[in-house]
Structures are given as C-alpha cells and as structure tokens.
C-alpha cells in the first residue's frame, strides 16, 4: 500500500508538469483556434535548452527564465512563419503548416544532435516524509509549475493585456471592434503558449532522460490532458495534467511502464466519446 501511495503522489507531481505543457497547447488553441503541432518541438527545445545551458555552467533552475523568454521569442517567430497566414482558414491548413514546421525542426535537431539519450543530472536532496521519500526534483518541478500556472491565471484575469487575450479568445471580431489589435494578441498568445511548452520541457528534462524524439510522446500526453481538462481552458489543463499523473501513478505499480501510454489513450478515447467538451470544464475560457 505504501508503495502505491508514494506512486500516486509522485504521479501527481509529475502530472502537474504535463499540465503545464498542455496549458501552452490549450492557450494557443483557445485564442487562435490553431492546434499547434510544433508543440512537441517546443517541449524538446526546452529539454535541450536545459542541456545546453547547464553544459555551459548555468545552474539548472536558472535556465527557467531564459527558456521562458527564449520560448516566447521563438513562439512569436513561429507564429509569423507558419500560423499567421492560416488564421481563420480551415483547420486542416494550420494542422499541415505547423506539422511540417515541426518536421523541419525535428529534422534539423536530429541532424545536429542525433537521437541519443540525454540526461541532465540535477543534484537536489530528496524529501522524506514518514516512511516515504520523494525526489526533490519532482517536488520542485510541481512547485514551479504551480507558481507559473498561478502567474498565468493572474495575468489572464487581472491585467489589461491578459483580459484582451481572453476577449480575443471569446470573440475575435468584437475584440477588433473595441480597438484591440487582434493580430498582435494572437501572436502574443502563441508566443506564451510556446514559452509554456518550452518551460515544461525544461522541467521534464530535470526528471527524466530524453532524446530529440521525446516531443511526440509528450505532445500526445498534452492532447490527453486538454481533453481531460477541457479545450481552451488553461486552468483546466493543470487539473487535467494532475488527473493524468494520478492515472500514471495508479497504474505503474501494477503493470510495465510500456503500458502507460496504452492506458492513457484508452482513457483519451473514452473521455472523447463520453465527454467531448472535457471532463473538468465544459465551457471555453
């Protein structure tokens, strides 16, 4: 039993980081109506950001603000390269354009770094509580995730610019009518979404080894998470991530790790059929 309890808590800690990744994906979807298939690349870029920066001597957690800012700028660039011209077009066009840019990015990455396994050692004491021991990296990742999610919530609900993002998500035409430069807001939201994906990649890389091709798996997890949490709802995404973490934590003591994805996607299909608007939040933010 104690093993199960520890596994569940650890699942929740790790799941919150999946929630952070999904928050980026769902923010972009909610505001721009684009399913961003460069999401996996952004996660991997965050992982390699951690690897490259720490190898030049930057302390692991000091890379977070750098990756946040870098991810935002890359996101802006991606918006103008592959998203702006397909805004308001049929969904297939944005799927194809972000998918192909994703292929180019992954192709470039594998050309430079290959597909070897990378591991960034992060020395952090683990935390013991009664008979249980949790890795410090897992706890810190969850704490940082909660802090970032909190900041995002405050930004979206308390600041003028954040409210403008929600206004554009809610009704783009009306936003334009009240004087909001919607194109700039779309690019801003895209930049933010990519930055969140990058930071989540960075945090995941402090927990697990990774390769250049890890992005796909985490992108798929993000889809599961946003279906659990409700499309276009960043707060729901965090809860969805925790829910997914719970499922992982519950299943790992009983079956081989290779089954985890199978279980997650069975769940994904069931939720899609039974609750097409998401389990936790039926409304779009």
């Amino acid at each position: 039993m104690s093993g199960l309890f520890a596994s569940i808590i650890d699942g929740v800690l790790v799941g919150s980081v999946y929630g952070l990744a999904a928050m980026g994906l769902t923010l972009i979807w909610g505001v721009t109506d684009v399913v961003n298939l460069t999401h996996g690349s952004a996660i991997v870029a965050g992982m390699f950001g951690l690897y490259l920066l720490t190898s030049t001597g930057v302390p692991p957690y000091a890379t977070l603000p750098l990756i946040l800012v870098g991810g935002f700028l890359v996101g802006l660039l991606l918006y103008w390269i592959c998203v702006h011209r397909v805004i308001g077009r049929p969904p297939l066009m944005s799927l194809l354009s972000t998918f192909s840019v994703n292929l180019v990015l992954i192709g470039l990455g594998t050309a430079v770094w290959g597909t070897a396994l990378f591991n960034v050692p992060v020395a952090l004491p683990s935390v013991s509580w009664q008979r249980y021991t949790f890795p410090g990296t897992h706890i810190l990742a969850a704490v940082l995730t909660a802090a970032i999610a909190g900041c995002l919530y405050v930004f979206l609900h308390r600041t003028r610019l954040g409210k403008a993002i929600r206004a554009v998500a809610n009704n783009r035409g009306a936003a334009e009518l009240v004087g909001i430069p919607t194109t700039q807001v779309l690019s801003l939201a895209f930049g933010l979404g990519v930055a969140l994906a990058g930071v989540s990649g960075m945090l995941i890389a402090t927990l697990f080894p990774f390769t250049l091709l890890s992005g796909d798996a985490y992108q798929l997890k993000s889809f599961v998470v946003i279906v659990l949490g409700g499309l276009g709802n960043p707060t729901g995404a965090l809860l969805g991530g925790i829910a997914l973490g719970l499922v992982e934590g519950l299943s790992t003591p009983f079956m081989p790790v290779s089954w985890t994805l199978v279980i997650e996607f069975v769940l994904f299909v069931i939720v899609l059929i039974a609750y097409p608007n998401g389990l936790l939040a039926p409304r779009r933010a």
Partner: protein
C-alpha cells in the same frame, strides 16, 4: 468638404463573389443622429461593416474626421473613435459585465478618464452597475443590448454607429433604449443608426437615408421622407 464627421463615397463591398453594395454614399454631420433604413438584404449591415473595416471595401472611400481611413484596420478605426455596436451585440459572453466595459476602453485614447466614463455609463444604465460581476452571456437580451451600447460608449466614440438597435427586444426595452439615444444625442454625441423599426428611427433622427439593393434610394429629413407616398407604403406600412 461639407463639414461631415463621417463621409462615405461610392462604397462597394460584398461577400465572396457576391456584390452587395453598389456605390453607397452618405454623410454624417457632427452632433446629429443619422439613420439608415431599408428592407432586409438592402445592404445596411454590410455598409456598416465596410465602413468600420470588418469586411474590406471593394471600392470607394471612407473619410473620418478629415482623414481617409478606408484601408485602416478595424481596431485602428476604433482607436480613432469610429466605433460600431454590431448587430447581435457580439459581447464577450464568458467575461463579466465590468470586463466587457473595460475592454471597450482598450485603446489609448479611451483608457484616459476611464473611471469617469465608467461612472457615466453606469449612471446611464444602472442595471449594468447591479450586474457588474455577472458574466455577460447570462444577461437578458435587453441588458445585453445595453451592455453593447455601454461598451461602445466606453471606447470614447467620436461617432457611435449602432446596427439594429431594437432587433429581438421587447417594446418597453426598445422605448428605453431610444430615450437613451436621445439623451446621448442631446449630450452632443454623433450617432449613425441602422434600424428596422422605421417609425421609431424617424422619430429620433435628424437625417435619414433609405437604402435599396445596395444603393442609396433617397435621403432627407425624416419628416419630408415620411410624407412621400412611396416611402410610406414601402417602409412605414401606411
């Protein structure tokens, strides 16, 4: 020019392959309430959309406060005080009443004296004050129209363009809204109104345009228009 605040010349526009407007020309004098009436499909809403730039005009010119704004983006026009209250309200339904008003004052020009304008708008529509924290999507139809106008007023308009003020609203509410319009006009606000209720529109406006099949059919002071038999028959049901 003639001192008009908004001057539209030979405006052409449409959707896809279908041309709706075939050269609309109209002028709105400052401080006046100007009405555009016409049958369904005549091109009233399309005219407004082309004026504010929600759809790109195919031809013609829109001059606002002496500046050619034909090709400006909609948000840039709103920031200059050319403000449309669109048909069907188009509120931010998932946001609160107060957030909707705050978004109305998004532009640099409108954010000045925000608190003062908020007080004035709430005084004009006390019901909105009571429902500040409520989601806009949960308001009644009349309250939503009030909020749409209030949001437009928060943009500090030089001209407030209102599309289909009375559409789908109860007569009591419509009456109230027209009283509000009169009050706004007396405060010196320039208003361009598109309205299907021609009786009411004529009663409050200084000048009226009748649009048919994408062209201006006739124009003039409402009283003289209402005296013409063909207009009485087609638009006033007399």
């Amino acid at each position: 020019m003639s001192g008009a605040l908004l001057e539209v010349t030979a405006l052409e526009a449409g959707y896809g392959e279908v041309q709706i407007l075939w050269g609309i020309s109209l002028a709105v004098q400052p401080g006046r309430l100007t009405t555009v009436v016409g049958a369904n499909g005549a091109g009233k809403t399309t005219t407004l959309r082309a004026v504010v730039g929600s759809i790109a005009p195919w031809g013609g010119r829109v001059v606002f406060a002496g500046e050619d704004v034909t090709r400006l983006s909609t948000h840039a026009k709103a920031a200059r005080g050319l403000v449309l209250v669109p048909e069907g309200r188009q509120l931010f339904g998932a946001m609160t009443v107060e957030e909707n008003l705050e978004m109305g004052a998004f532009s640099k020009r409108a954010v000045r004296r925000y608190a003062e304008r908020l007080d004035r708008v709430i005084a004009l529509f006390p019901r909105l004050g009571e429902r500040r924290r409520q989601k806009a999507g949960t308001l009644s139809g009349g309250e939503q129209q009030m909020l749409a106008i209030a949001r437009g007023l928060m943009s500090d308009p030089q001209i407030l363009i209102i599309d289909e003020l009375s559409l789908g609203l109860a007569p009591v509410v419509v009456h109230q809204l027209f009283e509000t319009l009169k009050a706004l006009k007396e405060d010196g606000l320039t208003i361009l109104l598109v309205e299907q209720n021609v009786h009411l529109a004529f009663a409050v406006s200084d000048h009226a345009y009748v649009i048919a099949e994408g062209r201006v059919f006739t124009e003039g002071p409402p009283r003289s228009l209402a005296a013409r038999p063909e207009i009485r028959r087609a638009y006033l049901g007399l």
